[in-house]
């Protein structure tokens, strides 16, 4: 069995692919909305240097990634250990050397990576216009507005992904998540704007 097949097998026997998928959407959404919030915060504030905006957003992205990774690892490791213990009790056998033992050791790492990398990578995608602008690339619209557009697009895509999982209309699901992002943006604007 190749490494990829082995990973797929471990995910299947523990039903962890559903958990990983859920974490990806939930934390990806966190990443996109956090960046949206920060960027709107900068938009309604006194103009700041693009480098400062990038550093603040990057700091938040790293913190989101680390928080997602560590919290998922700790909770999943505890859950897997508990599940393995219950299974060992039922089987009256030591399962450390079995596929279930491997799953208990490796799946928390995999799920932690999904949970941490989803918000981090989505945040980096949102920051692309800021980096381009900082590097001297001329964009068709202000880098902050371009970043907001990317954040909204990513939220819409996450909604489409959810719609496909649920087997409902992708457009309806995408628009639902987009609406949440727009309402969030309005709240931030209303509560922080002048």
């Amino acid at each position: 069995m190749s490494l990829l097949q082995q990973a797929g097998f471990l995910l299947r026997i523990t039903d962890s692919h559903k958990i990983a998928r859920r974490y990806f959407v939930v934390n990806g959404f966190d990443g996109a909305l956090t960046m949206l919030g920060l960027i709107i915060g900068f938009l309604v504030s006194r103009p700041a240097e693009i480098e400062i905006i990038i550093n603040v957003c990057l700091g938040a992205a790293i913190a989101l990634g680390m928080s997602g990774m560590s919290s998922a690892y700790l909770s999943e490791a505890a859950e897997r250990k508990h599940a393995l213990g219950k299974l060992e009790e039922a089987m009256v056998a030591d399962l450390q050397e079995s596929a279930h033992g491997d799953a208990a050791r490796w799946l928390p790492v995999f799920i932690a990576l999904v949970n941490g990398l989803a918000p981090f990578i989505i945040s980096l995608l949102v920051l692309i216009p800021l980096w381009l602008s900082n590097a001297g690339v001329v964009l068709p619209l202000s880098p902050l507005y371009a970043a907001i557009a990317i954040a909204l697009l990513l939220v819409f895509l996450l909604g489409i992904f959810l719609g496909r999982i649920a087997g409902i209309s992708w457009l309806r699901s995408g628009l639902q998540t987009l609406l949440i992002a727009i309402v969030t943006a309005m709240f931030i604007y209303l509560l922080t704007g002048n």
Partner: protein, 92 residues
């Protein structure tokens, strides 16, 4: 050379991997293995199986290793068919 042609095992396994994954993993031990799995009993966390493996020369150690690696345990060997002879491959 003596070769094992058929074995019937009593196995206790967790619900996962499911019967299909479990049978396939055992069939992969040899190139001509034919596996028949029957669930005899099921409870909250485990299921008892009757596992029949047929092949030209069954590697029992290999089958047992796969059973263990899947988190299952072999309870007993219930039936065995063994064939002796100089060249078992030509026998029908």
């Amino acid at each position: 050379m003596v070769s094992v042609k058929r074995i019937v095992l009593d196995v206790l396994k967790p619900h996962q991997p499911n019967a299909l994954d479990f049978s396939q993993a055992i069939a992969e031990v040899g190139i001509d293995y034919r596996v028949k799995l029957t669930v005899i009993e099921m409870d909250e966390n485990t299921e008892t199986l009757r596992l029949e493996v047929q092949g030209n020369a069954i590697d029992f150690e290999g089958v047992q290793a796969v059973i263990t690696s899947m988190g299952a345990s072999l309870h007993s060997i219930d039936e065995v068919e063994v064939q002796g002879g100089a060249d078992t491959g030509n026998l029908t």
